[in-house]
Amino acid sequence: MSSDPVRIAAAPVRTAPGGWRRRVKQRSTLHAHGEPMLWLTGGALGLALFMIAGLLVLVVWQGIFTFWPGALVEVTARSGERCLGEVVRRERYTPEPGAVDALAPDEAAAARRELEAHRGQLGRRLIRIGNFDITGEHFRWLEDFRVAAETRPAWAVLVERTSWGRCYGIPRAFRVDGEVVAETPEAVWEKYRELHGAARARRARRKALESGDIGRINHALEQARLGLRKVELESGRHSAAWAAAEPRFLQEQEAAAQAFARVQEEIHTIERENARYQIVCDTYHRGQIVPATVMLGDIVRAFAPNRLSFVAKLGVYVSRWREFLCDEPREANSEGGVWPAIFGTAVMTLIMCLVVVPFGVLAALYLREYARAGFIVSAVRIAVNNLAGVPSIVFGVFGLGFFCYIIGASIDQLLFAARLPNPTYGNGGVLWASLTLALLTLPVVIVATEEALAAVPNSMREGSYACGAAKWQTVRRIVLPRAMPGIMTGMILAMARGAGEVAPLMLVGAAKVAPDLPLDGIFPYLHPERKFMHLGFHIYDLGFQSQNSEAARPMVFTTTLLLIAIVAALNLFAIWLRARLRRKFVTGQF
């Protein structure tokens, strides 16, 4: 870019025939070099790259440390009050005038010293204290000037429970059937190690009973009820058919009730067994030591972070990631895993692809291969392109109005009349969400496919026709295979767009909690009418709808990281597939 001024100066001065001499200036202007344009364009690109990189770094940085076990601190305030927990965040603030004067003398003195040292600002920290069942709060702000001492007790443990959030405390006793069997932290820990595995297995069994067995019983009962309702709809309440069906239904109802009682009994047994083992921890509340009792069966994970080596911390970290990826959410989504959301997102994207790719490719084939170029084709093409610019919430409204309320309601009338007024398909569900997104991404596929078809050289088509091939044979054997990499590109773009879309899903079937996956062991295995969880919607829910928003905050980033990773993985897979196809058409083996 930098031209050499010496060479310019040394260039011979040309003399035109008419005696006019072209003057060559010693230095050309900056403008002529074009450097301002270079800076402008390069700067714009750089800024764009910087913002993208910044976004990725922020999400990755915040998301990656969520699960790293931090140290537990015990803070003693000047007032004598103590609290135990994890410091989540520190910040500086400017106190209101007069606020310092209202403090107790020793605190006020400390605050004034700090104000002087830090140009009128005070520090404070946010401590996650947990023990919501005792304290009524998850987090507490503590100003630095209140702090008299800060220690890291070796035996401070963090207990993640299935309910009430986390418990922070120092183990004091292990009780079996109400009797204390261990009294030192070491001994308690020993007992915990010994018995927790079995307790966890019992909890898993209980969950299996609750969601599996009871689900099946309810399903059977519902089927029986629907059968009876059908008879009622068809023949009326006073018919012979009803008279025959009713006792059968009552019988089935009785059988279901018995099965239910059996399962309930087993659950109670497990609960009783689990309630036998308890850990008691010392925690602090309002300046006093308060015992917190945790049932062994409720413990998801417990460890003493201050005693852990790096490798052991890594173990906790990995186990938390595993839980995040493979388990169901707990505690209003702010703890536990996002497996249902991952699964829902994947199923939805898959169904969307299955619909939009064939549909879009056929439409593009008609536009490019069959339709005669002319006004109508151009108009259709413009309309398709404009469809890509329609706000996605509009598609959501359309999906709700058309798929759920018109098509879905008609399906219910025809096939699921017995269940009315409860909607089956006449409500949001994974099928309608997929179809709505298919509609949303249709222009992407059509445009990409059309471009791919246009890029197939005409000489190939002519060669095929010259061999006596018909139009469809030419399209199927020559044009489509050759255009396949381009079609894959369209699919990639559609997937990336569809997997990350949230707004329309809120209308057509994404749910905050959807305990039943759209795919399970109950006939007919695929349940396209079910509501589903979606990662994008999950992020929104965590970030804005959570009661414990402070605890949900890191999860927002972790889930975002996961969503980005999934979309990237889908894209990489499709890109790999496309590269393979491309190689196939250029050199490689068949």
Partner: protein, 303 residues
């Protein structure tokens, strides 16, 4: 697309003067090309020797328009069976158009209209009842630029059988080998039949296209400047190949390489601005053409 039955108001309807054209009157000499350029109808000088040949393809008063522009004017041309016939002439004179009209590839263009007819073995090509797909199966075509399909060498060769639904592996293998051998490509290709055809060199691709064109044993092989995109060595191989095909296949080849026409063809037709000017045995056209204009073109004095 108009059909043969539709009369054209502005189509010049010269009486066909074939086979028995006397030597041109001296007045016409030297003026023919100028007359053609003025748009006048000029009769084709067809040599007497052609009368003795059995014509497999007869072009009879054929006119073709691209939109409003007429590209072929009243062509009368009989292609003899089992011989190689070359079409020569300056670029843009309508050689490719004529060739693509024979297998009705021009049907694919919306703007094309034609009048007149062609006959393959006595049966009309342009009659409305003709099944174009069946018609094309009786002809093979080799294009100016090699256009192998995006599939393996093997699948390229047996393409026309595949679209006919032939599944029998033995038949396909046999046709593949026979066609590749006829196209002088078997020795190079036999170990890489499963490889993509797009990885071949230009000359190899063109021989593959020839193998593909003759796989279905066509009545007529149409070649549109098959060597123009190739280097001299590849060109030599293709020319040898055309020589070898002679007798077995009827070949209609477009070329604007005079040596190639004189080396490979039995008959040569000279076209100019959409009209057929002179048509006769290659040897006669190149050594003692009836028309001075042909001589000028052959010897490179214009065009």
């Amino acid at each position: 697309m108009t059909t043969a039955s539709e009369p054209m108001a502005d189509a010049p309807r010269e009486p066909a003067r074939r086979h028995a054209t006397p030597r041109p009157a001296p007045a016409l000499r030297g003026d023919r090309l100028a007359a053609i350029a003025r748009g006048e109808a000029v009769p084709t000088e067809t040599h007497r020797e052609l009368a003795g040949e059995r014509a497999i393809l007869e072009v009879d008063g054929f006119n073709l328009w691209y939109g409003t522009k007429q590209a072929l004017h009243d062509i009368h041309l009989d292609v003899p069976f089992g011989k190689v016939t070359a079409l020569v002439g300056p670029s843009g004179c309508g050689k490719s158009t004529l060739l693509r009209s024979v297998n009705r590839l021009n049907d694919l263009l919306d703007t094309v209209r034609i009048t007149g007819d062609m006959r393959l073995d006595g049966a009309s090509i342009y009659h409305p009842s003709v099944d174009v797909i069946q018609l094309r199966k009786r002809m093979g075509m080799v294009f100016q630029k090699p256009n192998p399909f995006p599939m393996s060498i093997y699948e390229n060769v047996v393409y026309s059988l595949r679209i006919d639904g032939v599944r029998d592996r033995r038949v396909l293998d046999e046709v593949c080998e026979r066609s590749l051998q006829a196209a002088a490509f078997w020795d190079e290709a036999k170990d890489r039949l499963k490889e993509s055809a797009l990885g071949l060199s230009g000359g190899q691709q063109q021989r593959l296209c020839i193998a593909r064109a003759i796989a279905a044993e066509p009545d007529v092989l149409l070649m549109d400047e098959p060597c123009s995109a190739l280097d001299p060595i590849a060109t030599g191989k293709i020319e040898d190949l055309i020589d070898a095909l002679k007798g077995e296949y009827t070949v209609l080849i477009v070329t604007h390489n005079m040596q190639q026409a004189s080396r490979t063809s039995d008959y040569t037709a000279f076209m100019y601005l959409g009209r057929l000017v002179e048509y006769g045995p290659t040897e006669a056209i190149f050594t003692r053409p009836h028309l001075a204009e042909t001589n000028d073109y052959i010897t490179g004095r214009f065009g």
